[in-house]
């Protein structure tokens, strides 16, 4: 089972490190990362494997959300299925 983490907001140092650390802590394996910085805006998308997550997905998503709030970023973790449903026929 895969999930997608998106991070959007003003660019700052160490964003990827902080999100990756949370993933490692929760037992999520990072499969793919892509990021772009457009002017001062930062957008990162991370695809992770959540089969071996050592906590509930809701808890994990809430942790990331809290991290986002602390860093003034919008961080979301969502199951991959919603993107597949919406964009693949």
């Amino acid at each position: 089972m895969k999930a997608v983490i998106t991070v959007v907001g003003h660019d700052a140092k160490g964003i990827i490190a902080k999100v990756s650390a949370k993933c490692a802590e929760a037992g999520a394996n990072i499969i793919d990362i892509s990021q772009s910085v457009l002017k001062e805006y930062f957008a990162m998308i991370m695809v992770i494997e959540i089969a071996d997550l050592n906590c509930g997905f809701t808890e994990f998503a809430n942790d990331l959300k809290a991290l986002g709030e602390a860093e003034n970023l919008d961080i979301r973790a969502m199951h991959e299925t919603i993107f597949d449903a919406m964009h693949k026929i």
């Binding site: 793919d32 998308i45 695809v47 973790a77 199951h79 299925t81």
Partner: protein, 452 residues
Amino acid sequence: MININDILETINMIKEENLDIRTITMGISLYDCAGDDIGVVCDRIYDKITRSAERLVPVGRELESELGIPIVNKRVSVTPISLVGGKYSPDDYVKIAKTLDRAADTLGINFIGGYSALVQKGFTNNARNLIESIPEALTVTNKVCSSVNVASTKAGINMDAVALMGNIIKRTAYLTRDNESIGCAKLVVFANVPEDNPFMAGAFHGVGEPDTVINVGVSGPGVVSSAIKRAGHCDFSTLADTIKKTAFKITRVGQLVATEASKRLGVPFGIVDLSLAPTPAVGDSVAHILEGMGLEKCGGHGTTAALALLNDAVKKGGVMASSHVGGLSGAFIPVSEDAGMISAVECGALSLEKLEAMTAVCSVGLDMIAVPGDTSAAVICGIIADEISIGVANTKTTAVRLIPAYGKGVGDSVEFGGLLGYAPIMKLREYSCEEFIKRGGRIPAPIHSLKN
């Protein structure tokens, strides 16, 4: 691999454009709760609902956090209460209404629908007793929603029922006068009522439905509105295509939520209702979609055409995205629940007559419209009869949810708060239709050949 732009598009729809799942509604049959003793019947009803929908709210929350999309309402619809076997007085029905309310509180849902009667051809004793109990039932409960189907294309219009509903609506407005006549916001009069509608206040669990079922209502006026804005000044074919593509995406999320909820609850999936349901929030308005198409103000000339295009494109886009489509499916145009509609009424652009015309080409009908508190029951009946005729003649669902706000007149407004919003009191025509309504009986079903 998922495309980055697709991911960002989805996030943007949820974050900026108010995309949400409006409701997961579990339909529950109450046929097996029949009995002779009202106390026993109430116990059975309470047990059946709280047992069947026990996990509805937790599963809804689970899906919300996993998929990252808000699921605004979790609701229950039940068999039309007038069809639950037994012989009940109006007082008995009020007891059942209280039971439904209590079950809704226990489950943590915000509305429960099905305090309903189907009387398109005539009344059973139970149906009449239930209808008579509606004003009190809606006064002593908070979460119970009621609906009455008074007509169908096959049966014609039961004008006795229309006449009765005029009084019932007035009485409900009076009994809930301390609370902006809010009882009327939970009461809908229908023609051709759909039996699998997940949206309140008109939801009930139809007669041909399984024991339990999951129906999902999607939303997303903001998403459609933004897509139209992005499309810029394109021609109508491109405009319709843009709406179709957007409706497809919105509905796919609805289908996903419906299938997952059905799997996790072990309850069969019924339908996805492809409705554009507005909320009073900024950027969540159907009126603003129409204005985005090039109308100066919703309600001006051209509005009906714009709405017809929108409604049709939403259905065409949505139909392919879901395995089963049903309910009301179309664009909703409730006045109090749509910031754009409220503003159009306030500036005089949108009249009741234009709203009536608009209902000929979209789902639902005259919805959440506040009218002066001193409007006579006969005039309310006239409004109902007009609107219901549109549904009957055009083989479509139409409905009326009017709030004759007690003690208020044109220039005042009613404030319900939350999803129900607020509504300026609309002006009505004052000519009487009393003699017409007093005739009684049924208006025959319309002919469906010789189409003109």
